[in-house]
């Protein structure tokens, strides 16, 4: 089976700093895969490079078997690789419904009414301005907007960062619903409980390289790896 998203030996730079030093990973249909690692390991940069917001110096990005390396972000997004950025990217001056309306794409299997079934809070607040939403609601709106484009792959950058536990629970179950609807998800997240609850597989990134890969079951019983790569101890 071919991977829906395949990154091969990606190298990226911010100015002169070599951030990604050969990242390779893949994501297949029906999967949620997490990308773990300490701050500064290159997790967000991996997502941004995949979608073309950062142009890779070398390496390859394939989406559903098609090479999209080096294309501008809007074209990669249109081809079906959707990034929900860490800052959520809500248009503050647009209403919730307008934020959704501009994201609707012809030919997408998702309509705004489907979105409201997954995220009922957004329907309640559809006349509110994007800037008036709580952090959790903004996150839901950002995910909802990405879905409306009919993505082949969804990439979430720290979706529950800074949110209250009750909202985290809500968003975790919503992400599960989206996976069940057939959208594979690449998840960057610091909250290990969330990663364990959702993911089929895990990658660990350190200093711009993938240093470990594990299935959910392997990972659950491997506290040594967790301590080594993710723990606060040196």
């Amino acid at each position: 089976m071919t991977a829906t998203l395949r990154l091969t030996d990606l190298h990226s730079y911010y100015g002169k700093s070599h951030i990604l030093q050969g990242v390779s990973l893949e994501l297949s249909e029906g999967e949620i895969v997490t990308l773990l690692g300490r701050n500064g390991a290159g997790k967000s940069t991996t997502l941004k490079t995949a979608v073309g917001a950062v142009t890779p110096r070398s390496g390859r990005v394939e989406l559903a078997g098609r090479d999209v390396t080096g294309q501008p972000a809007h074209r990669i997004a249109k081809a079906g690789l959707s990034l929900v950025p860490e800052d959520r990217g809500i248009f503050q001056l647009l209403s919730v419904e307008e934020n959704l309306r501009i994201a609707v794409k012809r030919g997408s299997p998702w309509a705004i009414s489907d979105i409201y079934k997954i995220f009922p809070r957004l329907e309640e607040r559809r006349r509110n301005g994007g800037g008036q939403l709580s952090g959790g609601e903004q996150q839901m709106l950002s995910i909802a907007r990405a879905l409306l484009g009919g993505p082949k792959v969804l990439m979430l950058d720290e979706p529950v960062e800074g949110l209250a536990p009750i909202i985290v629970e809500e968003i975790v179950s919503q992400i599960g619903l989206i996976r069940d609807a057939g959208v594979p998800i690449l998840l960057v997240e610091q909250n290990l409980a969330v990663c364990r609850a959702l993911a089929n597989r895990h990658y660990i990134l350190e200093m711009g390289r993938i240093v470990h890969e594990a299935s959910a079951t392997e990972f659950a019983s491997d506290s040594e790896t967790i301590d080594r790569y993710l723990g606060v101890k040196a």
Binding site: A53, P72, H74, K78, P85, L93, L94, E98, A103, K105
Partner: protein, 284 residues
């Protein structure tokens, strides 16, 4: 009675200023681009109308054709030249667009001569309307009606449609629009062409009232900036209120103290800024 007449004139003038300023404001809102070539598009709209009418084309055809040509020319300038300088400081925007404005002004002199000319009142609107015991030209009432309808239509387009939401979203963040699959370069070109088209339309509508001359662009530009500043950057209703205010002040002053009419526009601006630095309805 003369004042009522001048207030009506002022409303007509003010609505044309509003069209100009709305175009300028939409362009600045989306692109953060200071467009000193805006007056040149007004000039081009007026001269194209003049030229077409001189060739025997009906004003009713010349009006949309001139507007469309201005939009196409502006879109081409944006796509070929201006998009390269958006990221540079505003002084560069001014330098380049002032250059473009001068090119248009001098081209007008070369092609149509330094004197200018007049555009006859269009067929069917040459008459007058009796308002009580004084007369008012039909064409001026027509421009008030047309611009009022346009103002409503523009508001609906910007606030009530998906296209308007796309433009407003682009003003907030171009990079987030790219993540949603939008080619922001294409949106920028379209919006620039649209804003310039509004200036061209204002010029075409103004031609039968004020005639054409090579320096009308520079004059329109300064008024448009005054209107945007008074109304508040990025505020649509502010531009409408400020356009009407400036139009009426200018018309009334023409009767009271003709030499001071231009001066009073700037006095009004200074007064508004002194009281409300962000303009009447400014957000930023």
């Amino acid at each position: 009675m003369i004042y009522l007449f001048q207030i009506l004139n002022g409303i007509g003038l003010g609505m044309l200023y509003f069209l100009l300023a709305a175009g300028l404001s939409i362009i600045f809102g989306l692109l953060q681009f200071v467009n000193f070539a805006h007056g040149a598009f007004y000039l081009l709209g007026a001269y194209l109308t003049y030229d077409l009418v001189e060739r025997g084309v009906s004003f009713w055809i010349a009006l949309p054709v001139a507007t469309l040509i201005v939009a196409i020319v502006a879109g081409a300038i944006e796509a070929l030249l201006l998009h390269r300088i958006y990221k540079l400081p505003h002084t560069f925007h001014i330098l380049v667009t002032v250059g473009i404005a001068l090119v248009f002004q001098e081209l007008a002199i070369i092609i149509w001569g330094p004197i200018g000319g007049s555009v006859p009142t269009p067929d069917g609107l040459g008459g007058v309307v009796m308002l009580g015991n004084f007369v008012y030209p039909q064409y001026r009432l027509f421009t008030i009606a047309v611009t009022a309808v346009l103002a409503g239509g523009l508001w609906w387009l910007l606030e009530g449609t998906r296209v308007g939401a796309i433009v407003r979203a682009g003003s907030e963040s171009a990079s987030n629009m790219a993540l949603l699959g939008y080619n922001t370069m294409r949106i920028n070109t379209a919006v620039f062409a649209f804003g310039a088209g509004l200036a061209g339309l204002a010029g075409a509508l103004a031609a039968p009232i004020r005639g054409v001359e090579p320096f009308m662009g520079a004059e329109a530009l300064s008024v448009a900036f005054v209107v945007v500043v008074i109304g508040g950057m990025g505020s649509y209703t502010g531009a409408l209120a400020a356009g009407l205010m400036i139009g009426i002040i200018q018309s009334l002053m023409t009767t009271i103290w003709p030499q001071g009419a231009q001066l009073f526009i700037y006095i009004a601006m200074a007064a508004v800024i002194a009281i409300r630095p962000r303009g009447l309805l400014g957000r930023v």
